[in-house]
Symmetry: C2
Subunit: 292 residues, 2 copies
DNA sequence: AGGAGCTATAGACCACATCTATGATCAATA
DNA sequence: TATTGATCATAGATGTGGTCTATAGCTCCT
């Protein structure tokens, strides 16, 4: 019918202000343009929409009916534009992140707090899972970005290297005799080892490292969370393999100390994954910039 | 923000069909035009609205939010256009007519029935009142047209002359002796006269006519409706001054007969009034054409 | 009578919406 | 693995129509 919705905007303002001149001002147009626009509408409907008089214009019966629809329509568009501006400003929206519990707690938490503080209107959705689960979330579009340990090899994903983490062996007061020693792998394996039970990247990595030196690392205890890994070590149940950055508090206060090995343990990196060639939401982009 | 609402129409179809190509077909555009339109929206919002892939496009989170508003907006516009088409076709709308009871009943009724039959969707509003009341209704915009006796002199009104009516004196069986006589005014005034009580144009006219011949007509009985005027005459209570066309049934069946006077009574006309220089609704225009 | 509003009309102009043609990418074929 | 047939993106040309200026016509108010 009408192939130029701009005409409705003009109609809306003309009806709202009761004046073509006022409508023109509101729309940054000239009065003849508005007059012409209204005429086009009237001609294509075959219906007179306004009574014209020397004080301005007034809706006819039929014009009033049209207005009742168009008004709602225009209000929705205004709301849409406001919403888009809010999304752009990060005053609104949502940010969905996937990752492991420990990374959320020990690494992402300050960024999340900071981001939430800056952008109160943005809802945070955190999904925790193992690395493969997080990748699935990402591919299913259930999260905007995933935070996991590198390396990730998946052509569909784009991974940005972020923080460097250093895994290490730590023990508590019960093993104080090891504090100033430099241990070999052989020696270390004499002690009870506590490892993370789930198929985590850290677990796979340490197993491979020991294997490359001809050793097999077999844990005495397997636990299901990083917190337990720390707690068990503190209580002297064995030597835990943890990420140094996650136990910085305990190392400082002395409730744990790091075991020095005679071979280097390679550092690992935290990567932030996104879908390759998929546009990021404003919130996700902003968050990534912040974490870097 | 967006200064071309056409873009929203394009966005709506692109989102709805999930394909720029399909949207282009729906809008009778080419695919590059649609692509360009979406890009404009995205650039002016600074927000990516669609994921593009080889099967088509898919809304992003933010695009989906925009769509929730725009969809409603577009639906309202479609409804508006349908409504306008219905008003134009006279499948919908309303027709508000003002007039006197007697004109509605004895004169307009068949037209109203016919119009209602043809245009079932149009609501009829009938307001009855005296001629000055009807004029007021018209000026207040409460009716679309008024049907009253001519002449009307009012520069704001446009009056189209319609049917001609002839007022006359009628009597019932009780005055059978007058049936084949031609009476003078003097003679007529010997009999009890029944006139309409309200300040109707007919009452004023007949008073003036008698005055112009040097007589004064004073009713024995005054009644408040044309129906009573007829009924009182039938029952022999006197001679009623009525519009001939309103008693055609009684004249035919013989329950009333017309008194012949030796002076002519001037005919009167029914006029259809509208506001001068005010556009008429489609329904009103159509009705007027029908009545002519 | 004059002025200050308002809307309507006429005619000119140039931005921009749309087009055609082509490229790039992907997926499902042969 | 090459091919075909989809998709969307890009570039450049084109001409329509939205917008402008200027002016007229009208009504109301001083």
């Amino acid at each position: 019918m009408i192939n130029n919705y701009e005409l409705y905007k003009v109609f809306y303002w003309a009806a709202k202000t009761g004046s073509l001149t006022q409508a023109a001002k509101a729309l940054y147009l000239t009065q003849p343009s508005v007059s012409h626009a209204i005429k086009q509408l009237e001609e294509s409907f075959g219906i007179t929409l306004f009574y014209r008089n020397s004080k301005g214009v007034e809706l006819t019966q039929e014009g009033a009916i049209l207005y009742s629809y168009i008004e709602q329509s225009q209000i929705l568009i205004s709301m849409a534009e406001e919403k888009m501006a809010a999304l752009k400003n990060l005053d609104s929206g949502e940010l969905r992140i996937g990752g492991s519990d420990s990374l959320f707690k020990h690494y992402l938490l300050p960024y999340l707090e900071d981001f939430h503080q800056k952008h109160r209107g943005i809802k945070l959705h955190l999904s925790h899972g193992t690395t493969p689960e997080v990748i699935t979330f990402l591919k299913e579009g259930r999260i905007d970005l995933g935070v996991v340990r590198m390396p990730i090899v998946d052509s569909q994903l784009e991974v940005k290297q972020s923080f460097q983490l250093q895994d290490c062996f730590v023990a508590g007061a019960g093993y104080a005799e090891l504090k100033d020693m430099v241990l070999s792998m052989d020696m270390l394996l004499q002690y009870p080892i506590i490892l993370f039970s789930r198929n985590s990247r850290a677990r796979m990595t340490i197993t491979e490292i020991f294997q490359s030196y001809g050793h097999t690392i077999k844990p005495e205890i397997e636990v299901g969370s990083v917190d337990l890994l720390i707690e068990f070590a503190r209580r002297g149940l064995g030597i835990s393999y943890v990420t140094r950055e996650f136990v910085s508090k305990e190392l400082e206060e002395g409730s744990l100390f790091e075991i020095q090995l005679d071979v280097p343990l390679p550092p690992s990196h935290v990567g932030i994954m996104t879908m390759r060639n998929m546009p990021l939401s404003g919130a996700a982009r902003s968050f990534m910039d912040r974490v870097r």
